[in-house]
């Protein structure tokens, strides 16, 4: 059962991951750019200008994060849901609407906030004066230029989406939990739909991997990550406001989840788990090699979790957006039936991948926890 699932998942992942990487190895070097009349709002308020359609830019804009939620364009004017910007500046906490940037992402519009001038470049907010001193390379990779920018705790598109999904899921599960109090018989309605998934996580993920004795205490965590990842994967596939965020395809998000799994694994590690890492069953002379290897092994497991989820979901989004971009690249409607059919196919496949990745993340978390709490007879 588990083996066949893993096989299916492997084949799918290989398929999904291999497609985009041929064309996406270096997106900036060979961006597909075709002159297209996209009317963009000029930050300085000047006349309309002709902008090239860039599939790379479109895809990067989508799979990345943003301080505002772009809903649609109407008569050349973007309809946007502005999200709050929360900054920890040198002068303390600053909270304001992202509307103040006037859609500027090229550091051309200055926002004066209590005497501090702020600019936004590629969705990263800098101090205007320090931004000028950066090299172009530093500007392009500004996420880690902590000296030149305030700490940013904004409710971005992904954070907004995560809030929404958490609230909706909490309400759904609250309703399900209530329904069990009223209805002692077989589950009905939404409980009937979710209960097989709950028992699936329990009987096919937690029990076989953690063991009959200790699985119960990890059930809440495994269920939470399973549903959190799955629902957010699905939300990312819905292509309109307030969904369409690429939350689970964001490496910071997957980093946090993988890190939590790492913490849970490390904290539940028993004597044998640590014994295996710190005093591996090899001759003492090999300890200088083996102990670092074991410690790296501890870290690679959650690292693989982080990369796997990020790559799978991002790849899926990139494929779908690339297929849609084909219409604009070829500038003909004739392509649309073909790319539409492919998009439909990919969306259905991505729905499967959404569930599979939630399953595989949960399964591997359970496996790592199981390794940490396992009690061997040998050694």
């Amino acid at each position: 059962m588990v083996f066949s699932n893993k096989l299916v998942q492997f084949v799918l992942v290989a398929l999904v991951v291999s497609i985009p990487y041929f064309g996406f190895a270096n997106p900036d070097a060979k961006s597909v750019s075709v002159a297209n009349e996209v009317i963009a709002e000029n930050p300085t308020g000047a006349a309309q200008e002709k902008e090239e359609f860039s599939a790379t830019k479109l895809i990067n804009d989508h799979i990345g994060d943003s301080h505002e939620f772009h809903i649609a364009d109407w008569n050349g004017h973007p309809i946007t849901f502005y999200l709050p910007v929360i900054l920890w500046t040198n002068n303390g906490l600053e909270i304001f609407s992202s509307e103040k940037f006037h859609h500027d992402n090229k550091a051309e519009h200055f926002v004066d906030q209590n005497g501090q001038k702020l600019v936004r470049y590629n969705e990263i907010i800098f101090y205007a004066d320090k931004f000028e001193m950066l090299t172009q390379d530093q500007k392009d990779n500004g996420a880690f230029e902590f000296g030149a920018r305030p700490l940013n705790f904004s409710i971005t598109k992904n954070v907004f989406s995560m809030f929404m999904s958490a609230i909706v899921m909490f309400l759904i599960f609250l309703v399900v939990a209530r329904s069990y109090k009223k209805n002692q018989l077989a589950p009905k309605g939404i409980a009937g739909f979710l209960e097989p998934l709950v028992t699936f996580v329990r009987d096919d993920i937690a029990r076989p991997n953690i063991g009959e004795k200790k699985y119960a205490q990890y059930m809440p965590y495994l269920l939470t990550i399973f549903f959190f990842i799955w629902i957010n994967n699905l939300i990312g596939l819905i292509p309109f406001f307030p969904f369409s965020s690429n939350l689970t395809g964001n490496i910071y998000f997957t980093f946090v989840l993988a890190f939590i799994t790492f913490i849970v694994t490390t904290l539940s590690g028993n004597k044998e788990y640590w014994g295996h890492i710190l005093t591996p069953p090899v001759p003492k002379a090999l300890y200088p090699i083996m102990i670092p290897v074991e410690i790296i092994g501890m870290l690679t497991k959650p690292f693989a979790l982080m990369i796997r989820l990020f790559a799978n979901i991002t790849a899926g989004h990139i494929i779908i957006l690339s297929l849609i971009s084909l219409i604009f690249i070829f500038e003909t409607l004739a392509v649309s039936p073909i790319s539409g059919a492919f998009v439909l196919f990919m969306l259905v496949l991505e729905m499967l991948v959404a569930a599979l990745q939630a399953y595989i993340f949960t399964l591997l978390s359970a496996l790592f926890i199981g390794q940490a709490v396992a009690e061997h007879d040998h050694h």
């Binding site: 909490f170 028992t199 059930m219 939590i260």
Partner: protein, 163 residues
Amino acid sequence: MNLTAPESLIFWTTIIFIVFFLLLRKFAWKPILGAVKGREESINNALASAESARREMQNLTADNERILQEARLERDNMLKEAREMKDKMVADSKKEAQIQGERMIAQAKIAIEAEKNAAMAELKSQVSILSLNIAEKLLKDQLSNKEAQTKLIENMLGDVKLN
């Protein structure tokens, strides 16, 4: 890729996930898992009790069969006993009747003997009376003829002896 500032998503993901986890654990997973487990237990119990009821039923059927068998045996025994008793009673009564009959016959015999003896005695007395009467008459008639008298008496007495 516009990843914005890493600390934003890391901070919020951590906060939201932990709060979400704690809320779900308290308000969703505990009741749901509890209910699922409770229901599973009740199903298992129901199945086990059904199984035990089935087994009991089987035992009951076996018991019934056994009791029926016993009853049948007992009935047979009783019938047999009754038949024996009847035979015995018939035999007994036959024997008794025979004994009774024999006794009655014996009594009858004794009575007959007694009657006969009595009759004989009566007869004897009658005969003697008759003889006396005859003798009287003879005596009266043939008192003159001594010889005849003696002869007659002798004849008569000889007749009596024959009887």
